[in-house]
């Protein structure tokens, strides 16, 4: 998992007032989940009613997940180190298009064992084919506005 690991857990230096106004004090990299956040959320899931977890997660880091399947774990490792699942969930592509994407992303650093390449392409082109219904994106809520 060496790819992108250097940009997952960075914090912030002391924020200047100008940077705060620009939003760096609120929506930077620490906005995204890391391992510690995952552990905290898991503990919360065990201790709290579902609605409370939903409230909490909606107000912090919310990422999506890839669909179940024999390649889910390997696709997660290969793809989600650098970007989140929504970028995949919204695609509706043919197998030849997925093949080009997987090969491009491998060139760009995605860790895909050569023996897994074909299975990964199958997984993506099965779950995200042109025949699948369109992806329904979520909306943002802008509470705690930081900009005009």
């Amino acid at each position: 998992m060496e790819v992108c690991s250097d940009v997952e857990e960075q914090g912030f230096s002391a924020a200047s007032s100008a940077r705060e106004r620009a939003g760096f004090g609120h929506t930077g990299r620490s906005f995204y989940p890391g391992t510690s956040a995952a552990i905290a959320l898991f503990a919360l899931a065990l201790a709290s009613p579902l609605w409370a977890l939903a409230q909490r997660s909606a107000g912090s880091s919310v990422t999506a997940d890839l669909p179940a399947g024999p390649m889910q774990a390997k696709a997660t490792t290969a793809c989600l180190e650098c970007h989140e699942a929504r970028i995949i969930l919204q695609q509706r592509l043919s197998k030849s298009a997925w093949t080009k994407e997987v090969d491009k992303m491998t060139k760009w650093g995605a860790v895909v064992d050569p023996t897994d390449r074909d299975a990964l392409i199958d997984y993506l082109s099965t779950n995200f084919s042109p025949e699948k219904p369109a992806y329904e994106p979520q909306r943002t809520s802008g509470s705690g506005k930081t900009s005009k």
């Binding site: 509706r92 650093g109 329904e136 979520q138």
Partner: protein, 372 residues
Amino acid sequence: MAGAAPSILTWALPQGQSVEFPGEDGMILRSFRFVDLEAPVEYFNTWLTPVPHFFVRNHMHEPSELDPHDWRLSLGGEVEKPITLSLAELSKIETHSVVNTLECAGNGRSLHRPQVPGIQWGKGAVGTARFSGPRLRDILQRAGVKSTGKHVMFRGLDEVPGKVPPFIRSIPIEKAFDADTLIATHMNGSPLPKHHGFPARALVPGWIGAASCKWLTEIKVLEAEFVGNFMSPGYRLPNQPVQPGDAVKPEDTHALTALNVKSVIAGPTDGSSLSAGEVPVHGAAWAGEADITKVEVSTDAGATWNPAKLGHDQAHYAWRLWSYDWRVGKSGDYTILSRATDSQGRTQPSTPLWNPSGYLCNAVDQVKIHVS
């Protein structure tokens, strides 16, 4: 492991629940990491787009740390005297303002058939703002561009994941010297927010959004167009129309520059049910470096067209709001279309011009409604 947290969160989140995103209100979440936010078309009812409703397009991570006191903008390459400017020094240079409609080249990508890879933008990766800052040409003149300087390269502080090529692009020297090409530090009168390139971005008016590099830190004058992924194969169109599956040679493509002529219907919204009577049809139309000359509306799926009224507010690179007062007395299903024409004589085509990356989709816009 990246997969540990998402499984819990996905299980906990009811379908359709909004995602808190400070300062970004009611936007369509195309991606959280990297941040890609689209405006719902019903937001296109003001000439200037409020920042919380302005689309966000990132190719990679935003800078995680950026202290304006430490930030510097360097200018080098084919110049007599390379210079480096602090934000304080940049702010002392005469400021110019441009109201510009900024649109992602991939806006409308999801409308192409067959679908093509990339962020599946609907119609809302576009917005209009007043951008302010020094003219790029004032800074170039300060450094003294050599006669060998033909292109100007921008590099931002985007943080590159993996081995992804850095986001670097260039524009021709003529556009760089245009009086309206800026190093923008402000947007709608306030310092640029983080998502829009704080503390400074290029503003290349009338051109695809990717030309207006965010978190700008380096400008370099080059002898030729920059060679890199985001100039080629990225952000290029085939010179001739192609069919899905056609092989396109790099030499048969050209770099994207100015935006197309285009209109979008902001209301009524697609799928809405309305009562018979007065139904205002309204939206926005833009044309890159050209001016909108007319917008026409059809309420009968294109059988007949009616002139729309153009809004009072206008600027060379900005969209025009438009409206058409439609009186409908009969219940039923209706297909409403909008079609813009510009000062270069361009008119929106009836269907998207398919291309391998889904760029510059500008087909006649369409909504279907029910009147009861």
